[in-house]
Amino acid sequence: MSGATGGVLRLPRSIRALAAILGAYAAVAILAPWLAPHNPLHQVLLLRLRPPLYRSPSGTIYWLGTDDVGRDLLSRVIFGARASLSVAILSVSVSLLAGTPLGLLAGWFRGWPAMIIMRIVDSMLSIPAILLAVLTVAVLGPGFFDLILVLGLTRWPRYTRLAYAQTLQIATRPFIRAAELAGARTGRILRRHVLPNIAGPLLVLATTEFGLMILFEAGLSFLGLGIQPPYPSWGSIMSDGRQYVGRAWWMTVFPGVCLFGLVLTVNLLGDRLRDHLDPRSAYR
């Protein structure tokens, strides 16, 4: 257990280090226009599939080579961080904001509306996530905002289930009765007493989901249903490069390494946070 007053500085060093790596990724995404050596959309059809460190006749160096329509891969990978991070952040926010209140209310009030909500949650959770996402994309259409909506719409049940279970448990604790006796109304109890106490597990779930959403965005873009061409995302670059995996390995390897590094950072962070918030349930 740790107080909210602790502040960033009281967090263990490993968490701060991982947060710093995450921050670096975010900085790259934000500063992409200044960091990228080229316009990520500009094609030179005659310079397709050039290997890393290629120097063009005009003297330009392509550090990571070029893609299959002759665009600078480094610039695309840098801009690709934007798609991965923003889709993940926004979709986690959407599903967190949609799922948590639902689970909170269901766990607090119970009764038949809660039953209905929880059965819907169960149903959604027993559909393979990628199938559900692919189908929803087919209905809503791909694109940045649609992608966020799709991921948000298909992932909220996880937060609902966790918030529900946690709320059920918290609702029986004496301090909830104490708050009632203190004259707190339901809204205040949920806000001040229940929510802060279920926030820890939800935060850990959100971190895990954040990593998953990055993979999902890449997966959907890989299937051609995510970020729209010509805008780069790591998944779509890898999808473009899939056909050339034997001859232009750089198109698959570099965005893959970036993606892997980011997700690993997020997962390690989630792991450490879990340990930090509740050492007993470490690794669960």
């Binding site: 059965r119 149903s123 393979p128 199938l131 189908l135 890449a218 892997f260 390690l268 792991d271």
Partner: protein, 306 residues
């Protein structure tokens, strides 16, 4: 107990009905397959004729009720594209997915459990510090990417394993590894907690006080007791593995239900998609039900949560 089991089964049935309903409406909102079936030069009239023959011009609710009605008679219908009974198509694919799931389970068990045990036994030492990131790496790899890299390395460069197909044991290795990575991470983590739980019990201290060596205690008692939660988790993981097979099967051209599902979505072959989702969710729901029951049997203090 029996009443609670009946209640849980009832709830499972409701969940599955929910799954079918969600999938039905999402699928039908995404358009029907008539245009995919006809040649490009078909006329408006001819398309309308085929659409009528296929029944897609009826109101959605009517189609939904007809679907449920057929399902209640255990009739999964006929594939629009393959023109074969859906049950037969599914039956021809399920063995592959089961094989792959089993392969992944073996990989996950063979690597995950010893890793988890090692992390628990050497808690806080360098062994754990090295293993944790490795385990987490297992669940940070995008399967489509690791699949491609595996094919590139072992299939193309080294030529040790077949690049595609589903024949023979060697073809099973790469997809199993790609699919098993995530479960391996889960198993390792579960094994670690279970072992730590057991190691902190009094009997361990007592046994050591009696002069048993630590290794003997671990082998004789700790591992056996720690296995109980692991077995129940494994039941749950089977459902997750089947779901994860979707991407892996697509990458490795593994002819299981995952690939069938993706193909059928692309073809809008409604009844096949619904049958696949039905199958996976039934497996998922049943395995979680079994896991719950197993918990309740092993530890009667755990009440079945409705």
């Amino acid at each position: 107990m029996l009443r609670l089991v009946a209640l849980r089964i009832g709830q499972a049935a409701v969940s599955i009905w929910g799954v079918l309903t969600i999938i039905f409406f999402i699928l039908h909102l995404s358009g029907d397959p008539t245009l995919l079936l006809v040649p490009p030069d078909a006329s408006r009239h001819q398309i309308a004729l085929l659409r009528h023959e296929l029944g897609f011009d009826r109101p959605l609710l009517v189609q939904y009720l007809a679907y449920l009605g057929r399902l209640l008679r255990l009739d999964l219908g006929q594939s629009l594209v393959q023109r074969l009974p859906v049950a037969r198509i599914l039956a021809s694919r399920i063995p592959y997915t089961v094989e792959l799931t089993f392969g992944a389970l073996v990989v996950a068990t063979a690597i995950g459990l010893p890793t988890g045990a090692a992390m628990a036994l050497w808690r806080g030492r360098w062994v754990e510090r090295v293993l944790v990131p490795i385990v987490l790496a297992g669940q940070s790899l995008p399967t489509f990417w690791s699949g491609i890299l595996l094919i590139l390395l072992f299939g193309v460069v080294l030529g040790w394993l077949p690049t595609s197909g589903a024949q023979g044991f060697s073809a099973l290795i790469m997809p199993s590894v790609a699919l098993g990575a995530l479960t391996m991470a889960t198993f390792a983590r579960m094994m670690r907690i279970a072992m730590l739980d057991e190691l902190s019990r009094d009997y361990v201290t007592a046994a050591r006080a009696r002069g048993l060596s630590f290794v003997a205690v671990v082998l004789r008692h700790v591992l056996r007791n720690a296995a109980i939660p692991i077995i129940t988790i494994a039941a749950l993981e089977i459902g997750n593995l089947m779901a994860g097979a979707v991407i892996v099967e697509t990458v490795f051209a593994w002819p299981g239900i995952g690939q069938l599902a993706m193909q059928s979505i692309a073809d809008r072959d409604f009844l096949v998609v619904q049958a696949v989702v039905l199958f996976v969710s039934v497996v998922y729901v049943l395995s979680s039900l079994l896991a719950d029951l197993a918990y309740a049997v092993i530890d009667p203090r755990i009440r079945l949560t409705p």
